[in-house]
Symmetry: C3
Subunit: 216 residues, 3 copies
């Protein structure tokens, strides 16, 4: 358990840093925000998923507000990304890779933290996915993009796989650094394969609905 105790924050901080970089690059690309806007979007992306998780499991105040390292890594990642963005010809690939890192790590941490707060297996899976996709969903909503969780090739599914591996290894008593890294790696690989090959889940057919006009 002591290994797990030390592991949780380290992985969590890694995901925080990745999402800080990611959110900031998104801010540069999607909306050409100034440095304060870049910092704000980076921090919201990095800290949003964990805050939602902690509110839902009753870990109040959220870990983010009790450990200054979260703020430093989120803000530091955002500022580094802001500085680097002028050197990058293309922001798309770094944004995608960093998002996949945050998604993978946060799904593992979210599921294991939910279990450690006494939630059952099903809710822990849900909390893993919510933690993984939460920050990015807020990020996309704020810059007025359709959220990745709704539209991206294999986004929620790898998060669910990572959460399932985490729950499985915790329940069988083999959870630890290797298991957590393995679960995150599986999520990362599935996500990146989905991006690379443009894999999509089935879509509804176009017939029939095309006559339908929005009534809102």
């Amino acid at each position: 358990m002591s290994t797990e105790s030390a592991l949780l924050p380290a992985l969590d901080l890694t995901g925080t840093f990745a999402f800080g970089l990611n959110g900031a690059l998104t801010a540069v690309r999607a909306a050409r925000l100034d440095v304060v806007g870049v910092l704000a979007l980076g921090m919201i992306t990095a800290l949003g998923g964990g805050v939602i998780r902690d509110v839902l499991i009753g870990a109040i105040p959220p870990a983010t507000f009790q450990d200054w390292r979260y703020f430093v890594l989120a803000a530091g990642g955002a500022l580094i990304a802001f500085a680097l963005s002028r050197r990058l010809d293309r922001l798309g690939m770094p944004i995608t890779v960093l998002d996949a890192v945050g998604l993978s790590v946060f799904s593992v941490i979210g599921a294991s933290k939910a279990l450690s707060f006494g939630l059952q297996i099903g809710p822990a899976l849900a909390l893993g996915v919510i933690t993984g996709v939460g920050g990015g969903t807020i990020r996309d909503t704020l810059v007025r993009q359709l959220p990745s969780v709704l539209v991206s090739d294999l986004y929620a599914i790898p998060a669910l796989v990572a959460a399932a591996i985490t729950v499985g290894t915790v329940e069988t008593g083999v959870y630890g650094l290797p298991a957590a890294l393995g679960a995150a790696a599986v999520c990362f690989v599935i996500r990146m394969l989905g991006v690379y090959f443009g894999l999509q889940a089935p879509r509804p057919p176009r017939t029939g609905n095309d006559h339908d006009s929005p009534d809102s």
Copy 2:
């Protein structure tokens, strides 16, 4: 009280199923999402209002995370809607009717649960409305529509009426299955009459402001 105890989850689950169907059909129509996106939007719509309610009244973890039936009905509704969507020529009317069902039921449940957690009458009314409109507001925001609560004919008002009937019957000791169903039915009828007749609350006049350009 034992009747009420059994009633609350049953009505809550009915609203969850209706909103799961609704959110999924919205996903098909508004954004042509794949099956994972449809499932995600259905579940967010179905579970969002109740989660917000439970966070605000301190019912942590939310009921959604303690009772697997919420997840099953939300996900099942979303998948059924995905499968059925190819058979529907028009999605507008099912979306509107299902949304009205969820709105009605959740407004009643939200108000009564708030009272059972010790909130006063005013806050219980507010919680009823928030529970009723919460999931749909998140749904609309994620697919970048103006939320129904802001723009639709008679949307928040029937929710408030249902919450008021609920609070009134709880306070006078006659709350139970008939009262809850009656309150929900009144909300549903007002909402559907509003849709059918295109009823609108007063709007601001157009004079004067047309010279005004956004400054943000």
Copy 3:
């Protein structure tokens, strides 16, 4: 301390009223909503920041749901703004000024309330900013504008300054009505100077990224 105890609600209610007016005027201008939509957006803007703050510090149910004056001032402000909007040739300046008032007051209250709930200095600063910008961010998201906190000249920075003055005066034992009003005034002045002179934080250069196309 008794002064502070009486002061907190009074300032909080002032900010609530200002944001109620602001949100309602935004609803009139941005989306020509009907009176219910105007009321809803006014109340969400006025009450959103405080509700987020209270959820994050564990003050459940939020103060908003325990003190009817918040609802009355938020709703009253929204209705007054709706009535006045037909008399205003231009809504931009009142919207900006009222938003600055709410931002200033809520940043001070958020920081001091966080400290009174036992949070450390860093988290209290964050909570101040979150309380100040929270309602407006929800407001902008719902009417599909880029949030002020991401795009506006000097928005998060004055909020942070107000929170810092608040934390500094609380920690040195000189917090009270004059300190709170002073902190809010400094925030208000910085914000309005930023608007007046169009001050901007540094933006990323345009070179390099222009070749980049969104991949989402």
